[in-house]
Subunit: 210 residues, 2 copies
């Protein structure tokens, strides 16, 4: 059966391009470093390197330590070549899934408490990631980057995360204030306040800045 190279294949291949990894290491590393750009399940991250071997883009060899074995994967010249081809394809459009926002869209089915709870949960998820990135940056200052020569890339990437997280947190506060003025979630329609917001947005202006 012919295997197809997906973006996830390239993601794993790019990791293998840095150094050889065991299957387990790949899952751990990918969860840590790729999570915010390309979140994939542990299960997939175990399968991808096998696919790469079938494609001839990597080699696998079993390492025995005592009674337990683990697979070590290494990139091939073919694999490095395939990586270069990746850049010639168009990047996929971004894809953003936020269930809390879906609940906001249909908030009129529930109470303002339900809606606020959804926002609380979103805030909790975001601030967890936010703190993790800040801690990671602190560790980089102490020379803690696993590939020191690649620090410039990780840090530029991290600026994106921080901007995003700050924006979302700022919006959550804003949204809570707005919702706080609502007597209910239903049938408010185009209130004077909503009209002000709509007008700002129609002129591409941020309601959070005022």
């Amino acid at each position: 059966m012919a295997q197809r190279t997906t973006i996830s294949s390239y993601a794993v291949l790019a990791l293998l391009n840095l150094r050889p990894w065991t299957g387990y290491e790949l899952t751990q590393q990918a969860q840590r470093s790729l999570r915010y750009a390309w979140p994939k399940s542990e299960r997939l991250l175990y399968s991808e390197p096998k696919k790469l071997v079938e494609l001839g883009y990597a080699t696998a060899h079993k390492e025995e330590s005592g009674n337990r074995s683990r697979n070590v994967y290494e990139i091939t010249t073919e694999g490095r070549h395939a990586l270069t081809e990746w850049t010639s394809s168009r990047t996929q459009p971004p894809r953003i899934e936020i269930e809390a926002l879906l609940r906001l869209l249909f908030a009129d089915h529930g109470s303002t408490e339900d809606l606020n709870r959804a926002l609380d949960e979103l805030e909790a998820d975001i601030s967890e990631h936010h703190e993790a990135i800040v801690d990671l940056m602190a560790s980089y200052l102490d020379g803690g980057h696993p590939f020191p020569e690649r620090t410039h890339l990780s840090v530029l990437f991290a600026t994106f995360q921080i901007e995003m997280f700050k924006t979302i947190e700022r919006w959550i506060e804003f949204a809570r204030d707005e919702i706080g003025e609502w007597p209910t979630t239903q049938d408010l329609g185009m209130t004077p306040r909503t009209e002000v917001l709509t007008c700002l947005l129609a002129h591409d202006q941020s309601p959070l800045d005022s």
Copy 2:
């Protein structure tokens, strides 16, 4: 075969809670209104209402117009009840997939041109969505909301989109400036400039504000 209710099921159910829709209408409406919170394929949006019927959460009846038929789906009392249960479950953490950022993380395999192209493509995708939302808000000002009593929800949701899009666009400009100072994508490591950025991020400060 017992069907399971996923978040996508609830998303479609929430649409059906507004009014009856045909399968085709559901796919179109979901692409327009849910795309930014819960992007799902047309294929799935055709399948979900069938699942809802099997679960007893909706009814289907064929409408004939000439030689062509279409399915009209309507929510049941059971379905409305199920919707209420949705709010009692924890919201899923957000999931953000941006291939352009993945390419940034591994940009040292290619040239600065490759990286800039990825950013250009991201910018094109974002600005397309950005403009669409601004236009949508302009149409709301003229009373163009399909469910006028729900305008307050759509507009608060739109504030999120606009904030996100502006943030991403601002970051792209910032990133282009940074990359413009790079002689190459490789082996720069912890440059003085990167150290400044890392320091700011470690103190949870935005490098874009300065």
